[in-house]
């Protein structure tokens, strides 16, 4: 099923599997450090979903490519950004005026091909709209349905429906700029630009993980919890490896399960207490549809080493990860591990929505009405950007958004389901409150902003995110604050950063004039 291909890394040839995520291929070959930070630290992938930019490298001569979004193919040339050359550049194709831009005209543009985006696209297309769906990852399905070979059962019908309804897919393209009616997108691998003109949009950009700094969190080999999931799905083999899955939230359970099923020796540590989580009992009792999956999950997790009210206070190693200190109610335990997957819950990915001008709720989620319409007419938002509530919520919100975008009225039953999902999402969040200690794990010398190597101590005397950015460079690197802003808020900085284009950093403009119209 998988074809072995050759790629080169810094000139050396190595074997990888076709279609594997490039980050996973590099890790499999023992290359977990992909770039050097400004102060010279070796760094590797953190999020494995395109947010942190820690995995970037020069791929086939294109700088700043996020390797976690690139599928391996024969002959790929990778140069790690360990030492960048500053040689004169090749002129850009198209001369000083640039080439003609490829333009796509459509009725609806859907941003994100996760459950929410796919559902929206299907609903609108089946009602006769011309639909384009844009997604930056390697394949459709978003976080939960991402796959390398066969799509998971739940995803299949949606992918099938989208195909039949003639939804146009731009997979491997990031949306980086735009306004109502216009989106600018760029291909992840080479920066090829496409402009999309549309009547309406559905923003279904999902969520990202919350990272909190602690000593050692920048070591290559320390990845997000969801990141481990993405890497395994992207072809990382962890058979026989000892990995700690830590942090908070239901995602940890899904990750631990996948890691176990992939042959790893898994340890699971949840920071919230059993008492916190017991608040879920009643909402769970009230939703019978969740009983079976919950039972299956618990069964699958049987036999793994588990800790509650426990969290990682330090990761040690150098250059790679060697051991982890876990604070448990019974005292600190030092554990030898080969991998640490750690995430402190999910936060809505709202950059595209905010960039388009949509208002946020005080909670940080995009404000929508009962038809999923944002504060801007014609711009809908569905799934995790409107609040973390999981896959079923994403699907139903996507349906509502797609139907509304097509000018129809969703059925009352569907709307009622959306309300119930929101209630469940809130219950999940309430059951996993973050303990205050977690914001204080990092000492002054610990890195806060990974892109720019700004330490916690550097920002100790200021009070706003704006000063942290402009005076100390927090969030001035390629992730543009995605990773460090939530960490900075825990360091008692206030406010938020402005979102400016590019909403996500893409390789420089490289217009493919031959394909332009």
């Amino acid at each position: 099923m998988t074809k072995a291909v050759r790629i080169t890394v810094d000139g050396a040839s190595l074997l990888a599997q076709e279609g594997q995520s490039l980050t996973a291929a590099l890790m499999m070959a023992g290359v977990s450090a992909i770039r050097r930070s400004p102060s010279g630290e070796a760094r590797g992938a953190l999020c494995a979903m395109g947010s942190c930019h820690e995995c970037r490298a020069t791929v086939d001569g294109v700088r700043g490519v996020r390797t976690c979004l690139v599928p391996v193919k024969e002959g790929l040339r990778v140069e790690r950004e360990m030492k960048l050359s500053r040689l004169p550049l090749e002129p850009s194709p198209g001369g000083d005026e640039g080439g003609a831009l490829q333009v796509i005209e459509t009725g609806l543009a859907v941003i994100g091909a996760g459950p929410a985006g796919l559902a929206a696209a299907c609903a609108a297309a089946e009602l006769g709209m011309k639909v384009v769906i844009i997604d930056e990852s390697m394949g459709p399905g978003g976080r939960i349905w991402s796959h390398r070979h066969d799509p998971p059962l739940a995803a299949r019908s949606w992918l099938e429906r989208a195909r039949e309804a003639g939804v146009l897919k731009l997979q491997g393209y990031s949306v980086f700029s735009g306004r109502a009616g216009i989106l600018d997108v760029a291909r992840v691998t080479d920066g090829k630009r496409v402009r999309i003109h549309c009547q309406s949009m559905v923003v279904a950009t999902g969520a990202m993980e919350r990272f909190l700094p602690f000593p050692g969190w920048t070591l290559p080999g320390v990845v997000g919890a969801g990141a481990l999931q993405s890497l395994i799905k992207g072809g990382l083999n962890i058979d026989g490896r000892r990995v700690l899955v830590a942090g908070t939230g239901p995602l940890l359970l899904a990750v631990a399960r996948l890691a176990k099923e992939s042959g790893a020796e898994v340890i699971l540590a949840e920071q919230s207490s059993l008492a916190d989580r017991s608040s879920l009992a009643i909402p769970l009792l009230l939703s019978p549809s969740r009983w079976k999956p919950a039972r299956q999950l618990l069964k699958a997790l049987g036999g793994i080493e588990r800790y509650s009210s426990s969290w990682v206070t330090e990761a040690r190693g150098g250059p790679g990860l060697k051991e982890v200190v876990l604070r448990t109610p019974a005292g600190d335990r030092v554990m030898e591990v080969e991998g640490l997957a750690i995430g402190y819950g999910l936060i809505p990915e709202t950059r595209v929505a905010v960039g388009l001008g949509c208002d946020l709720e005080p909670t940080g989620a995009v404000r929508v009405d009962s038809l999923q319409q944002s504060s801007i007419a014609g711009i809908y938002c569905a799934g995790e950007p409107t609040g973390i509530a999981g896959c079923e919520a994403a699907i139903d919100e996507g349906l509502v958004a797609g139907i509304a975008a097509a000018g129809k009225t969703p059925k009352a039953g569907l709307l009622a389901r959306v309300r119930r999902h929101r209630f469940w999402g809130q219950a999940l969040e309430d059951a996993h409150p973050l303990r205050e200690d977690l914001g204080k794990l990092a000492c002054d010398s610990e890195i806060l902003c990974r892109c720019e190597d700004v330490t916690v101590g550097d920002v100790s005397e200021i009070s706003s995110i704006r000063e942290a950015r402009l005076i100390h460079r927090v969030g001035m690197g390629p992730c543009q604050g995605r990773i460090c802003e939530s960490a900075a808020l825990c360091q008692s900085l206030s406010g938020s950063d402005t979102i400016r284009p590019p909403w996500t950093v893409v390789p420089g403009e490289n217009q493919d004039i031959s394909s332009a119209q």
Binding site: P38, V62, R63, G64, E81, L84, R86, L87, P88, L89, E90, P91, S92, D96, E97, G98, S177, G178, R179, D184, G191, G357, I462, S463, S464, R466, E467, L470, I471, R473, M476, G477, P478, Q480, G495, R500, P501, P502, V505, V506, P507, G508, E509, N510
Partner: protein
């Protein structure tokens, strides 16, 4: 008697420079700023930070030169973001005619005592191998440089003693020696300095002398900039095309010119545009024109990853010169604004001049060209230079 007390409105690079200069002269300073900190809200947070000796006008040249001299005294040289990075400026000519105009500029600079020299052909590419080989030549001004304005502003403020800073506080009205805050508080001082950038004249109490309110004008000029990722520092000089100053003052339509500033962080700041108006959302069309214009002088920049783009507003005046001096007809309220695209360069010199005037000292530079009272009382439409 109480200490001489000055209220300064605006903690951009100009307001903070004034605080620095005034506190050195023994004044007690209250600095009032709407934003959360120094240099993070207005044009200071948006500007490129090129410290440039501009030869367009003999008076402006003196102000720039004094500004540059003071920056080089105030800051350590070549220590990265927190100091003065001595990059030099390289003005670029695309043809013989432009080169001749740069040669004339060189002669004027020489007579003002500014070191500069022209280069042609291969000499240009020895200086900057990344430049387009079709360029005819250039003018190099070796002591120009680069500062990172927000950081320098914060440092300058931390060095000033006797300054009480009130951030997150907005001024809603300014009279002669009196300031009203948004919560209604009224504050009086021996002197009030308005350094609120593009908002310079907005809160001036016009009833006292509406005549001046009609002729003093701030014309905002929006500019678009972009910053590349690290590892792209392919230039040593700040490079600017010869026609850059076009559209800086007076009434302008849209103007796009190549200005590329290397940053000590191994990045490039790409600029820039000018069009009437305040800083709004980034316009992708304008941004593209700016980057395409830069591509023309430094081939390949368009393929560099851009981390962020943004806009800022320069505060232009009707006659193209800043306003440094008392509000005409008033005794206790002073203006420091209208610097258009040169406020970072000129801030220390302007602050020195203003502090000297407030303290009735002999001025280092002639005060006349900058005095807000210089404006002829005539048609409010203005004229371009």
């Amino acid at each position: 008697m109480d200490r001489h007390h000055v209220i300064i409105i605006g903690a951009g690079i100009v307001g903070v420079s004034c605080a620095h200069q005034l506190s050195q002269r023994g004044s007690r300073v209250t600095l009032i700023e709407a934003g959360p900190g120094p240099g993070v809200q207005g044009a200071t947070a948006a500007g490129m930070g090129h410290i440039v000796v501009n030869d367009g006008d003999p008076d402006l040249l003196k102000l720039c030169l004094r500004g540059r001299e003071m920056w080089r005294q105030l800051l350590e040289e070549n220590v990265g973001d927190r100091g003065y990075w001595n990059t030099g400026t390289l003005w670029l000519a695309e043809d013989e005619e432009q080169l001749q105009s740069l040669e004339r500029a060189r002669d004027r600079l020489h007579s003002a005592g500014v070191e500069s020299h022209t280069v042609q052909g291969a000499g240009l590419f020895d200086l900057e191998p990344a430049l387009n080989r079709n360029l005819t030549g250039g003018l190099r001004i070796p002591h120009d440089g680069v500062v990172y304005a927000p950081k320098v502003t914060a440092r300058l403020l931390s060095q000033a003693t006797e300054v009480e800073s009130r951030f997150g506080t907005r001024v809603t009205r300014v009279g002669d020696g009196v300031v009203t805050l948004e919560d209604g508080t009224e504050m009086k001082a021996d002197a009030v300095v308005i350094a609120s950038g593009v908002s310079l004249l907005e809160n001036l109490d016009g009833e006292q002398d509406s005549r001046w309110k009609k002729i003093l004008k701030i014309l905002p000029r929006e500019g678009h900039l972009a910053i590349t990722a690290r590892g792209t520092g392919i230039l040593r000089h700040h490079v600017v095309e010869a026609g850059y100053q076009k559209g800086a003052h007076g009434v302008v339509e849209e103007a796009i010119a190549c200005a590329i500033l290397p940053r000590p962080t191994d990045q490039l700041c790409l600029g820039s545009s000018r069009r009437p108006g305040r800083a709004g959302a980034v316009d992708p069309g304008v941004m593209k024109k700016v980057i395409d214009r830069c591509e023309r002088f430094v081939p390949g920049v368009r393929r560099l990853p851009i981390l962020r783009t943004w806009t800022g507003a320069r505060a232009a005046t009707v006659d193209g010169k800043p306003l440094i001096g008392p509000v005409p007809g008033w005794n206790r309220t002073w203006l420091a604004g209208g610097f258009e695209g040169l406020g970072i360069t000129q801030a220390p010199a302007a602050a020195e001049l203003l502090a000297q005037r407030i303290h009735a000292e002999t001025c280092t530079l002639d005060a006349g060209p900058w005095d807000p009272g210089r404006m002829p009382v005539l048609s409010a439409g203005g004229r371009s230079d």
